[in-house]
């Protein structure tokens, strides 16, 4: 127990940054990549950020009840290892941080599939100089229900100016803006942000409402995402960097700039559909005459495109899981988007994106890992929406699009890296997918890539030549300090 928890050892919500245990559901986000140019001024800035003094934006915290009146903007920070060093964190404390965090995301590239075009040597500014990135601040503005681009951008600009005010010892290396172009839909045109780890300390109280029909997955222990609590592994705790006020209630984040080649993705769906049109087994996948189950008025080819898209993800584009509705995105009796599992007969492909990254209760090779590698994901798309139009030729100046993703957990090695390396890109969890990549996110190489579409009755159709749809363009491992930790870092000297 420590003084950041109350006397019963329960979570003190106000000690945790506000974007970890639940999302803000804002319309727009801006990330500021910052370098600590002057440690003394930067530490004063940290101290001021606790209260919002001197015009410094105030850190948004968690609270037992979500705020009654939403703040205009939300503001949070993450620190890289170099950032902790630059602020003067004592060597003994630095040594308590885990190896993967100390090494940083670029050193772990091979594990994360960041090779070739995704390799750190090809990353965009400012991620091409990872040691310079000390702090990543995130500013959230707007309301998904009432988007107002100009107003939101003005708010982001105002907060940014307050951070990069010359007197605070922070120099701005670069920014990235994300926005919700269509509510919860992201590029590739899937509904996202459906299933997240839920915590008893948060979700039994007020907003379990996201999950009207529950979730087959057990509640996540707090140690899934915060340091200092029980983890999914009985009796096992992650190391908490000392002193306690630095480590407890902190978390780790894998921030990723993931470029999505939407045109390439839609083209691949067409290629796959054309292939299926000539494969007699595809009649099992989509019995002729049932195309309207996929969408009103769809041609067989277009219906097959949607079937392929749904299989690759594990959900239809509207979010309906294949595990509960393998034949149509609009079942006559509505199904839950969250309350499902993968039993032996499930028609969700073993290699589908959502099943690979979170196998729920399915049989997997690593028997202790079913729920232990879960991640909190907070992401927002960047770039303009893409409207698929087969009649339109590929625009050589197609704007860049993708996702600004935060993959948050208490242990990067046991969660983000374990998932990325063994599951996303090797498929070790199930011998039937081993040697293949995640069809959507994986480091696909068209020469070797494959993906199996399961058919009723147990047979399958193998798709090949999947290209890489998602390319890493930047990122960093950050530590998301607790409020106490921000105070502690602000009080350092030297």
């Amino acid at each position: 127990m420590n003084d950041q928890n109350d006397q019963n050892g329960k979570l003190n919500h106000a000690d945790v940054q506000g974007n970890i245990l639940r999302g803000y559901r804002r319309q727009r986000v801006r990330y500021l990549m910052l370098k600590v140019a002057g440690a003394t001024a930067a530490r004063r800035w940290l101290t001021a950020s606790l209260t919002g003094a001197d015009g410094v934006p105030q850190i948004t915290t968690e609270s037992e009840k979500r705020w009654g009146s939403k703040p205009e903007t939300c503001f949070n920070i993450g620190l890289t290892y170099e950032g902790l060093r630059a602020l003067g964190t004592p060597a003994a404390s630095l040594a308590d941080f885990p190896t993967e965090f100390i090494e940083g995301m670029t050193k772990r590239a091979a594990k994360l599939g960041d090779v070739g075009p995704s390799g750190p040597e090809n990353w965009e500014k400012p991620f091409d100089k990872p040691a310079q990135i000390h702090l990543i601040a995130s500013i959230y503005a707007g309301d998904c229900k009432k988007p107002d681009a100009a107003g939101e951008i003005a708010q982001l600009d105002a907060v940014q100016r307050a951070v990069v005010d010359g007197k605070w010892g922070m120099s701005l290396l670069g920014t990235r803006d994300g926005w919700c172009f269509n509510k919860d839909y992201v590029h590739f045109n899937y509904a996202d942000n459906i299933s997240q780890p839920k915590f008893e300390e948060i979700h039994t109280t007020d907003d379990y409402g996201d999950y009207p029909d529950g979730d087959s997955q057990p509640m996540a222990p707090l140690g899934t995402v915060l340091l200092g609590y029980e983890t999914n592994f009985e009796g096992l705790k992650w190391r908490v960097p000392r002193p306690p006020q630095l480590g407890y209630n902190g978390s780790f984040n894998a921030f990723r700039v993931l470029e999505q080649d939407v045109v390439c993705f839609e083209e691949y769906l067409t290629t796959a559909a054309d292939y299926l049109l000539h494969d007699p087994k595809a009649n099992l996948l989509l019995p002729p005459g049932t195309e309207s189950n996929i969408g009103e008025g769809l041609s067989r080819r277009d219906a097959l495109r949607e079937v392929v898209a749904a299989n690759m993800c594990g959900r239809w584009r509207n979010g309906v899981p294949l595990a509960l509705s393998p034949d149509t995105p609009s079942p006559s009796k509505p199904v839950s988007k969250t309350n499902f599992d993968y039993d032996g007969d499930s028609r969700c492909p073993y290699g589908a994106h959502i099943r690979r990254c979170n196998p729920r209760g399915a049989q997997i090779v690593q028997r202790v890992a079913n729920h232990s590698r879960r991640l909190v994901r907070r992401g927002m798309p960047y770039g303009p929406a893409y409207v698929y139009d087969p009649a339109k030729p590929r625009d050589p100046n197609e704007p860049k699009r993708g996702l600004l993703g935060n993959f948050i957990g208490a242990n990067l090695g046991a969660q983000f890296e374990a998932m990325s390396c063994d599951w996303l890109n090797l498929g070790l969890q199930d011998p039937r997918v081993t040697g293949s990549n995640d069809p959507l996110l994986g480091a696909n190489d068209p020469v070797t890539s494959w993906f199996d579409l399961p058919l009723p009755g147990g047979d399958k159709i193998r798709l090949r030549k999947l290209p890489r749809f998602v390319t890493t363009k930047g990122g960093a491992y950050t530590f998301l300090p607790s409020i106490s930790a921000i105070g502690y870092l602000g009080s350092l000297s030297g």
Partner: protein, 245 residues
Amino acid sequence: MSRNGTSGGTSSATSDKSLRDRFVAWLKMFFAAKILVPFWALLTPVKKLEGGPRPSVQPGDNVQRMMNLIMPLKDKSAIGRAKAALAIAQNKDEIYAGLDNVGTVHFARFVIVDDNICMFSVYDGDFTNYIRDFIVTIGSVFDAVVELVEGGEKVIPSAENVEKFIDWVHDHDAYQVSDVATDILRDQEQANGDAGPGGNDDLRLLPRSLILQLNVNTNVSLGSGYRAYPGYSAAQVRQQFGVGW
């Protein structure tokens, strides 16, 4: 007589020569091993290269990976070795059950070599996941062995020192000298944080690099080993044999 004399003379000359040769050879070896190598090492200090398989994104390289743990026993006597043997023997069933649950292990065996307890295994996927899952499954058994090893007391109980424990095990995993001779130069550059373009090698210096590495890294694995069949995961093999995975 003269034949005998000649013969005798030749014989004695040969023996003199061979003695001299042997002395010169010994002197060379002594000079090389005791003077030249330490001098080189002083002049061009090299870092001990990291153990374990080299990072790769090829699926075939990420299954059937070797772990060669060489852990010096605290008690370097027959009694110490017997204690280690006993720690393994007493926990054999648990160890095997644990390996089953980890699910990614092909083979694992314990060997005592001189005063080291060694664990050699072939596993699939990421090393840290392998060790972490092993800790979760049968950490206490691991602790019983590690307790007997030099420095082991600092990382047990493993369940409370997961990160430290994994790093410690990694430190005891032998460096795997690549099948490609010049890879040792690349590894060295990487260990030194040298990000510049490699490949401009003076190949005549390769033996020196190897000697200097073996000077700081006394136990290494040579090459990536022989495989009778291509890279399949343990679960794939089990599935093919119908023995459950």
